[in-house]
Point group: C2
């Protein structure tokens, strides 16, 4: 079958790969749609650095999955919806033809294999892939496959908002209105948070921020983020979401945030970053790092999308086949043209 | 009257200063004991930098106090107990002779004046000072003036532990066993947290850490902090208190802490500090900055000390008169000889 793989750690190519066969506890599915994630672009550029940073850390529990090797083909694509083809032996799964999604992980007797950045198993940029039967969720309410594929990135927003423990009556400032920022905005709006002030240099993304629920969306080149916050909501403490993830954002927030504010770092910054702890101490700030989501948050997000509480349609700005993935990676560098491009393998 | 003041922003000198007179709402007190705080040493070395960092920040509410000028004499000493001499006109206060303490602030119609790092009002390194009648707390239970003076630094520990929202059943790792670290240890122990692992290069401070409640106290030159934590408590997530406050500590903690750990930054680091946000994201860490305490925490700490729940006696390692303050500042650089030196003005 065909798959778009990362080769030599940098180049995406469409190639033929072995057909996956479901073992016990697994389900073979046909991928219907798979979103291209900013992390995928990041990994294609900085994969070696990301692995090195991972090795530097201690205290990270071994998941039991196979170690990733960049000199072998790497499978990517972790924002997918798919149709059930066939369950493995002695495996209870939804009937063939059912539209499903899943957190991007496969459980086996030797551990958990992530369905992203792996040499082991085909992921969402493939015609077919294996899922774990216990993790499979049926897509409810007749939701279409394209919207269902956005469950994963939107769950990232819900998780960040949950991690923020944002109180009713609080407001939020969302720095950056790319897919992660938009997912945060949607989750904040669903929770009734007001005001939500978003920022982005791109007019198209500011428009999307408003569509997804921001009460104001400002161009930080014209009105700096914290000045906008101050104008909209006075000097009240605020929950700030860093959905940009480049050096300097955390320091800016520490310096300018009102006392007792909280900074949720959702954007991944691989580089070293300089902060001034004194700002944090003088104003008693919090920095909370947020990553991914738990299975309950994933399921809740699928429900929110299927029930129409969150309309992800406006975020989908393009669609390509497997052969179009390399070009789509290049296209996504332009925030005016694209938010989320879906890969539709067949 | 006599006071030890900071002159020219760097040198401590004992000099004669005008006698304070209580206005309405104020109480004139005679200082019985006043601890020398690490922040005082820090301010005598880096006062200009601290003021500059303060000016760089935005979003800090104006307290209404008078701006501090380093080229005028600066009053210091914010860890005090004192005896009531005389209340101002139309002011309800404990009778003369009562031993009291207070958060180091004086309320006036124009705002709040901090009783530390101020040109405006004599503070604890003085024979006499003014307190705000509504903020004055009687020292209960016959507690002596020397121990009562440690209410303020111990409240810093209670506040940090409160900010940590440390759950029952969690353990704690306290980096640095100076007065701030010891205050954190005492507050953790009082809350029943176990294990408490403390670190310090100094054998005397490690001994004090055990005395104040640490279950283990390790020399990080022999056994690095997170290795000690791992030995004592496996790879469980941990609440880490940074009571050192020098560059590199936050980064070390982000790199080595188990997933879902929380870092409470209590030590003041004025310099820029480099962190790798990726570590924080990959392990979903929290960094919470803690500063001072609220009046309820201050009062609760006084009660804990007076009731004998926390014995601060072992922390008091020296005593000087006003003329001895400059020498005491030099002495405190040596962690083997001293923890807390009390100034006893009269």
């Amino acid at each position: 079958m065909r798959s778009a793989v990362l080769r030599g750690g940098r180049v995406l190519v469409r190639d033929d790969v072995p057909e996956p066969a479901p073992e016990m506890g697994q389900v073979l599915v046909e991928v219907k749609a798979c979103g291209i994630c900013g992390s995928d672009l990041h990994f294609a550029q900085h994969g070696a650095t990301m692995l090195e940073r991972g090795r530097e850390m201690t205290g990270v529990p071994e998941m039991g999955g196979q170690p990733l090797e960049l000199d072998r083909d790497v499978f990517m694509g972790h924002e997918f919806s798919a149709e059930v083809l066939e369950a493995g032996p002695d495996t209870v799964a939804p009937p063939a033809g059912t539209l499903v999604t899943s957190i991007p992980a496969v459980i086996s007797l030797t551990g958990i294999e992530n369905l992203a950045y792996t040499n082991a198993l085909p992921a969402g940029y493939s015609e077919r892939m294996l899922l774990s039967a216990p993790l499979v969720l049926e897509v409810p309410n007749g939701l279409d496959a394209r919207r269902a594929a956005l469950t994963e990135p939107m769950a990232v927003g819900l998780h960040a908002v949950n991690r923020a423990e944002i109180a009713a009556g609080s407001g939020a400032l969302v720095l950056g209105s790319g897919p992660v920022g938009l997912a945060v905005i949607a989750a904040l709006r669903l929770r009734g948070i007001e005001p939500i002030v978003a920022t982005d240099f791109s007019p198209a993304r500011r428009q999307l921020a408003r569509t997804m629920g921001a009460h104001e969306a400002v161009d930080p080149a014209v009105e700096p983020a914290f000045e906008a916050w101050s104008r909209v909501d006075g000097a009240r403490s605020v929950v700030v979401f860093d959905a940009i993830g480049v050096p300097g954002i955390i320091e800016d927030a520490l310096r300018q945030a009102p006392p007792q504010s909280r900074l949720l770092v959702v954007g991944v910054c691989m580089e070293k970053d300089a902060i001034t702890p004194f700002y944090g101490i003088a104003k008693e700030l919090d920095i909370r790092f947020a990553f991914a989501y738990d299975p309950m948050e994933f399921a809740a997000t699928l429900t929110s999308i299927a029930e129409g509480e969150i309309d992800v349609g406006p975020m989908i700005t393009g669609e390509v086949g497997l052969e179009g993935v390399p070009e789509a990676f290049r296209e996504l560098a332009n925030p005016e043209r694209h938010c989320k491009i879906l890969v539709v393998p067949s």
